[in-house]
Amino acid sequence: MALAKGLGSADDLPHTISQAIAYRMKIDSLNELPEDKRPPRDLWGKPYKLKLWLDDVFNIEKDRKGKDYTEIDLEDVE
């Protein structure tokens, strides 16, 4: 389906519009998080700082360490 005269498909969409849509979708998905885990506006356009922030609020590093093999309970191993 043509989007508009001269725009054959989504590939032809002007990059400014596709960027705005992608950015809006990113903000909407972040806003679906519980309020205490939602990143501040300052980080929306800073991918690296945003990743660190999300890793921190979701304890991703801590979870990784928690899965260290030394903590495997031998009772759980057949």
Partner: protein
Amino acid sequence: MGSLSSLLRWKKTIELVDQNKKPILDADGKPKKVYMRIIGDQDLKEAYAEARVASSNKRAALRDPETNDYRMEVGIFEDASEEECVEAIRAAQAANWTQQAMSNVVRPDEVEIEAIAADPDAPTLEEQEKLDIANKEQDQKYLEEIQAYTLQKNKELEDTLSDMTLAQKRELAKGAMTNIQPLYMFMQTLTIEKVWRSCWDDPTFKIRSFDSAQDFKDTVDVIQKQLLEAYSNLEVEEDKVKN
């Protein structure tokens, strides 16, 4: 701030004129038109890739003392005056300050209606007006902090330079040129790559006006300038999209 109307404006028709502002005519004697549209993601990706190749080649040339690029743009600083050195160093440093400021200055969250309204589910008109003013003031303060950051960086640079000898400044200026010239090359190439990809000979955007960047560069200056200016007016800057 980028308005929705400027974001959604994606094409325009340009009637080409000559250096005397008279219409350029096509084979049928009609005014020659170029149909321009903002390029898509794939074209943009290719434009960036070409621009990075150009900046990388420029950087390599500027680091090789045997090249003309080195002799003309870096080597000349061996005899440069203090003012010329300072100007080059400042230009190279300032190119990074705004980006650094955007990364380092914290942008506050928007003021929410809860902070102002007695009943946030039914705010009065006056409370909504107060909210608009509060957010406008916050945006203004943020812009001022960005400016203050760049001014502070400028001052730090001035202090550093005041303690340096001319020989040290010349060395620093040579280093600055090997950073700033590739950046100029990148920007210039990116613009040309975007513009030739944006020009079409028909209103349905099926027949390209140019085959390549070189084809565009081989066109007469007066046409190049019109197309460059038209594209720059058409495209919304990325940072404005995010505001």
